[in-house]
């Protein structure tokens, strides 16, 4: 079976239904940041890991499962054509990715949620903070990406 990228009108509603399912089952939100926080706080005492850590683990396993099922699983240091931006250096690429990860983590923690937490779960509750946060995330990211592209940095 050949797997192509799912159209948005299939994947979007499916994710929405899964988010509603989590609400119906445990009244907990979907979001990745909370999993990282829970994991970092309780990594040395695994029995204390909560719902959010298991959700994060599931996200990782689900992505890996798709890669295995679709035959696209492969271990690689290549991050698309990001290497060209980092000057072709693996260390430079790693440093940029770590810096980007720190910026994302700091920003998401400050905003009280990440793109998935605010954008998919928070907005479903019509939370004003989530609406504002999501708009800010996307406006900043799109603006910065376009600026980098304008300066010739984006492939």
């Amino acid at each position: 079976m050949t797997w192509t990228i799912s159209p948005w009108f299939v994947a979007g509603p499916l994710i929405g239904l899964l988010i509603v399912g989590l609400r119906a089952a445990v009244n907990k939100p979907f979001g990745a940041l909370g999993g990282f926080i829970d994991l970092s706080e309780n990594v040395w005492s695994p029995p204390r890991l909560g719902f959010r850590s298991y959700l994060l683990l599931g996200l990782t396993l689900g992505g890996a499962l798709f890669a295995l099922v679709s035959g696209s699983f492969s271990l690689s240091f290549v991050y698309t054509d990001f290497g060209s931006v980092a000057g072709g250096s693996l260390i430079g690429e790693a440093a940029l990715l770590v810096a980007a990860g720190v910026a994302m983590g700091f920003g998401a923690r400050t905003a009280g949620g990440c793109t998935s937490g605010h954008g998919m779960s928070g907005i479903s509750l019509l939370s004003p903070a989530s609406i504002v946060s999501t708009m800010t995330f996307f406006a900043t990211a799109v603006g910065l990406a376009l600026l980098v592209a304008l300066l010739g940095g984006a492939p």
Partner: protein
Amino acid sequence: MSAKLYGLVGGIGIGFVFAWAGLSDPAVIRDMLLLRDPHVFLLMGSTMVVAALGVRLLRARGAKTWVSSARSPGRPNNLSPAHLGKYAVRHRLEPCRNLPGTRCSDDRTGTA
């Protein structure tokens, strides 16, 4: 089934669909950010609509969760524009935790 198991199973389902939708592909995210392809915007928009309708339905039915007798999510209070500046700036830029009536992704820590 415990909350942890629901989290694991739900996470696997969402992670699988995420990857199927191409959200684990950096090139797809790049094309979204450069406004070359509306796929991710449309996907997120449809997710929001379906999730909002589903949560509203749960509220309307007064549904209780499957693992406890707790009620499904409540309704955020109305928010005036003045709240944004006042709370976001004065309370350490943590709107999810400090804005009145907002629903954080986690009630205990205020994080998603």
